[in-house]
Amino acid sequence: MGQTTFEPWNDPEVEPLIQFRNVTKNFGDFTAIDDQSFDIYAKEFFALLGPSGCGKTTMMRMLAGFESPSSGTILLGGQDIAPIPPNKRAVNMMFQSYALFPHLSVWDNIAFGLKRDRKPADEIAERVGQMLKLTRLEKFAKRKPHQISGGQRQRVALARSLAKAPKLLLLDEPLGALDAKLRQDTQFELMDIQEKTGTTFVIVTHDQEEAMTVASRVAVMDHGRIIQADTPANIYEMPNSVYVADFIGEVTIIEGRATRTRNGDAYEVAFAEGQPPLRAQSDRSFGIGQACHLAIRPEKVRITAEKPEDAANAVQGAILDIAYLGNLSTYIVELPSGHLIKAQTANTQRLSRRSFTWEDTVWLSWTETAGVLLEG
């Protein structure tokens, strides 16, 4: 791998910072984490993404020390952390509710962890000053948490958890309480701070856009298992399952049966009576007539009035619905077989007349490499 890209997970020489080894966590009869093994590397921004109840928060609480695995081990820097209580771990956490101490000022909240380490007063003051500067909170040092806005509280919580310069920072849905615009600004701020401090961040979120924006790698979770852990680009372009493809971004999923084409470099997917089969390339191998799913991202589907000349896949249908999102328009097209396919176009020109409207008959086309073929 090149020197410029940050991909320690592809370098067998690099020792991971955190190793989960066959970790299982049960709460009574309920299995929150099901025999998971994976690594997180130093300086990574690692996102645990999944719907609520998928086990992502349990994973994080085990790292913080508030839960212990039912079986398996978690290593931090090569050391088993099971016997270490939360107050002795070089791990800090930013809580979903921020958990700011309401009776202490912003300054005292940030200084709280440093004071527990019995650091000299001038050292504490210097470090708190740095943190206030980093999070642009200098003006609010004397305020109490209830006297500042939600965005400022979020920054106090971040400053407090970073003050002790932990090896690992855990962020539990850190931006959940912020409105969309502020959330976006804060995401970039988080990435900036992560880069400046060189701390390893593990973020838990159910917001796929957030995970994709901030993380170096995203682990998509479901029912206590990591389904796929990879870079945002790979997660999006090369999902390993229908679940991941469906969870991340918009997608059209067509069920069918795969058969290898005669020249052997692609598959043909038969999906409906009276429709030509769809063509898709795949690294995976499928048996003759094996059940499969074809996942197609809407932005890779072209929408035209006439049938395109040399498209690998072209189907005709009627526009059922149009969603105008400002920068994009999404068309939902119904095929005669009843299948719905999404197509997206960028609105690159202002106030251009919309070419298509409801119930227009249109052609949808995409290349052989646009769709991802997944096991059924």
């Binding site: 913080a64 020390g65 508030f66 209580p85 939360p86 107050n87 002795k88 791990v91 800090n92 956490m93 809580f95 979903q96 509710s97 958990a99 101490f101 309401p102 009776h103 709280f112 962890g113 527990r116 380490d117 305020r143 109490k144 209830h146 006297q147 500042i148 806005s149 407090r160 958890s161 002790k164």
Partner: protein, 271 residues
């Protein structure tokens, strides 16, 4: 605002008269010059003077105060601990039974509590005196404290304690530095409740008091049996004003605190 109708005005007057007329009469007669309680003989403060020369009353007041301060302090410590365990411990065998048993003394007739304590003290051969009253008052006021504190703890955000642990506190430090300051208002009102309960308890104190340790309510009760004295009126008036000043001060402080908080929050939003 709705207009005050005749019906509303009448019911308001009657209601308040029902509540406060007896006390008003008591206060008026405490300034009566006559030794006869029911005959008005002009304004005077002589019974207040007499009261402060009466050693027996002063002794009783001193006993009452000591009992109230010590028993409410112990009750607050024990009640807070009980509340913490019952709210925090999660599920364990007999949890419902235990929390029910904490609240049971609230509805237990005082006579029964007093009697059972008396039997216990006699059984273990404990001489009755201030110490036994303190024990008895601690016993029954502890459950009031635990009710007040646990209702606050139910809404307490546990992640605050987790944050304290996460930042390097031992569990004991987390309690002292984070939990206690936050639940302090509930603990203080629990203490005040225990204090007032101890201050005006007659039944349990009369079971557990010895000859050397008469509390004020016992003293008032026993002197009334010997005939009404204007001194009692004066004493009661003092008690009423003591309580009234306390209640008004407490509500004014909390009102001011909440107003200040609102103003600060407005300022924060504007900033």
């Amino acid at each position: 605002m709705r207009r005050m109708t005749w019906f509303n005005a009448t019911s308001l007057t009657l209601g308040f008269a029902f509540l406060y007329l007896p006390m008003l009469i008591l206060i008026i007669y405490s300034f009566n010059d006559s030794k006869l309680v029911t005959v008005w003989a002009g304004f005077s403060t002589r019974w207040y003077g007499e009261l402060f020369r009466n050693e027996a009353f002063l002794d009783a007041a001193w006993v009452t105060l000591r009992v109230a301060v010590i028993s409410s302090t112990i009750a607050t410590a024990l009640g807070t601990m009980a509340a913490l365990v019952l709210v925090r411990a999660g599920r364990f065998a007999g949890r419902t039974l235990f929390s029910g048993m904490i609240y049971a003394p609230l509805v237990m007739p005082e006579v029964i509590t007093g009697l059972s304590l008396l039997l216990l003290f006699i059984g273990i051969g404990l001489d009755r005196g201030i110490f036994t009253i303190i024990l008895a008052h601690t016993t029954f006021s502890m459950c009031y404290v635990s009710v007040v504190v646990s209702s606050r703890l139910v809404s307490f955000d546990r992640s605050l304690e987790e944050a304290a642990l996460d930042l390097g506190c031992s569990p004991a430090q987390a309690f002292r530095l984070v939990t206690l300051p936050i639940i302090a208002p509930a603990v203080i009102s629990g203490w005040l409740l225990a204090f007032t309960l101890s201050l005006d308890d007659l039944v349990i104190a009369s079971f557990t008091a010895g000859p050397s340790s008469t509390t004020l309510p016992i003293k008032i009760w026993s002197s009334i049996r010997l005939g009404l004295s204007p001194e009692i009126n004066a004493l009661s008036t003092l008690l009423i004003s003591f309580v009234a000043v306390g209640v008004i001060a407490a509500s004014l402080t909390s009102k001011r605190a909440s107003l200040r908080r609102q103003a600060e929050e407005r300022a924060a939003v504007a900033a």
